[in-house]
């Protein structure tokens, strides 16, 4: 177990190294000059050069990367070019919001997606099934921005059930999480459906019925726990998507997450922030996958961590 963890962590470090190197390289060859962004429109060439020197951007690529890495090892993610603040601090200040949104979104996603998938599997081939699968397609095809605004307009502006935007209380988080969940739940619904259909044909489900258990118990205690394994791996993937990708939802609902930070940084080539977000979200993805793998044995005791 500990050996497993340690080995996975070593792998994770290698992955992070790879991710940071590729990102750094891509940003290096990107046809956009961060210094021009910092210097602004009135800067004289002199000012531009002095800023470039100050940031060490006049040095060769490998030197720059090495400097970045040595900082990274000490937990230093560098300083934002434009905000002139420590990237670690900037990210840390937004991490709680991102994690909170992510957690709630995944919970909603599971409730909606699994609910739909289970119902569709139980009523397979009936109208319920077709409607639900159609809905899952609509959910996957819907642009987040529009879904978010529709929810906001309906539940916040018209009905006033939730605050229009902002961050703080649970009710602030409901609509943004719901937006993410709705657009992501289609995958879960489809996965769960096919997984449930397989489980519904198994011998142990027949045994459960032969024991005279109620339908609810058969579904919830026997079928679902067995069908849920592939879903757990998907949560790991989802963490990655939510870490840097909730930009649209964050901006619709004024959510102070990492997405907005990353977005603005990308547009203005604030390389330390882009790097920081990349590294942090890679860590989150790796940890998320690790967590998914660690949870798996609890869900399915046949799985051994090795």
């Amino acid at each position: 177990m500990w050996a497993y963890l340690l080995r996975r962590l070593v792998q994770a470090v290698l992955i992070l190294l790879g991710v940071s190197f590729i990102t750094f390289l891509l940003l290096y060859v990107l046809p956009a000059d961060p210094v021009r962004q910092i210097a602004g429109r009135s800067a004289t060439p002199q000012v531009v050069e002095s800023i470039r020197r100050e940031l060490g951007l006049d040095q060769p690529f490998l030197v720059q990367y090495w400097n970045y890495l040595t900082g990274l090892v000490q937990g230093d993610l560098g300083r934002s070019y434009l905000q002139k603040a420590d990237v670690a601090g900037l990210i840390a200040s937004r991490l709680p919001a991102t994690l909170q949104l992510m957690a709630l979104a995944i919970v909603f996603e599971l409730i909606i997606g699994l609910g739909m998938g289970i119902a569709a599997a139980l009523w397979r081939g009936r109208a319920v099934d077709s409607v639900l699968m159609m809905t899952s397609f609509a959910a996957v095809s819907a642009p987040q921005f529009v879904v978010g605004l529709l929810l906001l307009y309906l539940f916040a502006v018209q009905l006033g059930w939730f605050p229009i935007s902002g961050y703080g209380t649970f009710s602030h988080a409901v609509l943004p999480a719901l937006t993410l969940a709705i657009t992501g739940s289609g995958w879960y619904a489809r996965m769960m459906r096919s997984s449930m259909i397989d489980v519904l044909h198994t011998d142990y489900l027949r045994t459960a019925r032969a024991k005279g258990l109620s339908r609810g118990r058969i579904v919830l205690r026997h079928a679902v726990p067995n069908a849920i394994l592939p879903i757990i791996a998907m949560i790991g993937i989802d963490i990655g998507i939510f870490m840097g990708g909730a930009v649209v939802v964050e901006s619709v609902f004024g959510w102070p997450g990492i997405g907005q930070l990353a977005w603005q940084a990308i547009q203005r080539v604030d390389i330390p922030i882009i790097m920081g977000v990349t590294v942090v979200s890679a860590v989150a993805i790796v940890l998320g996958n690790l967590l998914a793998d660690m949870i798996a044995p609890f869900v399915d005791p046949r799985i051994k961590l090795r």
């Binding site: 956009a32 602004g40 002199q46 531009v48 002095s50 905000q83």
Partner: protein, 522 residues
Amino acid sequence: QEEQLDPNAKAGGSIVITYKDDVATLDPAIGYDWQNWSMIKSVFDGLMDYAPGTTDLRPGLAESYEISDDLLTYTFKLRPGVKFHNGREMTAEDVKYSFNRMLLPATQSPGAGFFGSIKGADKMADGSATELEGLTVEGPQTVRFELSRPDATFLHVLALNFASVVPKEAVEAAGGDFGHQPVGTGAYKLGEWLPGQRVVFQKNPDYWRAGLPYLDQITFEIGQEPVVALLRLQNGEVDVPGDGIPPAKFQEVMSDPDQAARVVEGGQLHTGYITMNVTQAPFDKVEVRRAVNMAINKDRVVQMINNRAVPANQPLPPSMPGYSQGYAGYPHDVEGAKKLLAEAGYPDGFTTELYAMNTDPNPRIAQAIQQDLKAIGINAEIRALAQANVIEAGGAGNAQMVWSGGMGWIADFPDPSNFYGPILGCAGAGEGGWNWSKYCNKDLDAAAQAADAMARPDQAEARLKAWSAVFEGVMEDAPWAPVFNEQRFTMKSPRMGGADALYTDPVSIPINYDYVYVTDVQ
């Protein structure tokens, strides 16, 4: 001079303003985004300032100033009893510290280039000096600037945020994070700052302009989609949407008399234009450039952005001193344009690229222009890229045509010279410069320099004339095709008070925080 207080104004109350983009920093030496520009103005003061809602210079932290006859020495007498937010009194040493700090390369101030006329500024830039030679402290309340050449814009430059006075001890205490823990002399001090969420300004009770500001508190809510911000305004949660009225909501707002009444329209020191790279064929031919100027149907472009602009025919916006009132510009004339193209040797037109920033409405405007160009046979492929990539392409001279929208010129200070040097003059035409036309007319450059040397107050009129001539000269060569000057439409909540001019303040966008008030306080 005495401060004119609004007799209707009531003190107290707080307002909410929204922005989409994050506030990067409130460090006056660094902040150069259009949204933190006005915020910094309210936290910090410089020696010079503008009367609210106008482009009229007035002394700020300086009580008075004197200009020597050779126009090379400016002596400022500081206002006594001005206190920083930390309670310490501001002195001449602080002015000196602030300028040194801003000009040191380590600070990475994007504004350093504005102060090139001060003696020794170049030595600061290349790192060979750490103290500004041309700035001396004459006494506790007196500073003297020495210039290396006469500079008519110098007082304007001193009104820029970069020239704000900061307290040394606070900068040092912040340990490199002054931008998030600002301490100034301004009307507001920083209350709370939750990154990505909100910035709260508290009234500075010791503000040196007696009776100001009126408001107790301003909350800037960050990361708000403009459409959502407007919904919240309509819901009574927001007082001013900082990003304006989003196009998708404009019709709705303007067709409701109640809401339309709360929209204040005003001019803006902005010009949207197309640059044409004069160093490359086919735009090395002036006929081609003129043809482009004549091809564009500016009225249609303006209509497409909901008439929120006025067609432009010269680089300067109408509200800028030096604007040529009577100048006719190039008429919209498709046949004429075709003829010019044929004269230039392109009777069948040609294919080129039009760069534009990728945020709405810029790609749309680019497409409208594209259609106009097609009408005279020019096939312009659009490159809608992120801001950074457009700037890169324009600076490197790779872009044959660039639509300036989104990155375009909103003046740093209300003086025509600001519209010339970096974007039309030879200085900006080098590799990486912001003169994306790479246009360099030595004669006009000389004329511009001469105009800026006319720094005596009695020369002001003549100087503006000279500038008008320079810009007419530019239009003769047509490195740009000016398209429109954006109008500002600021919307406010019903309780917002204060003259309309405060809501279209040319230097403090979207509103002048120091002078607005709310009507619903007792």
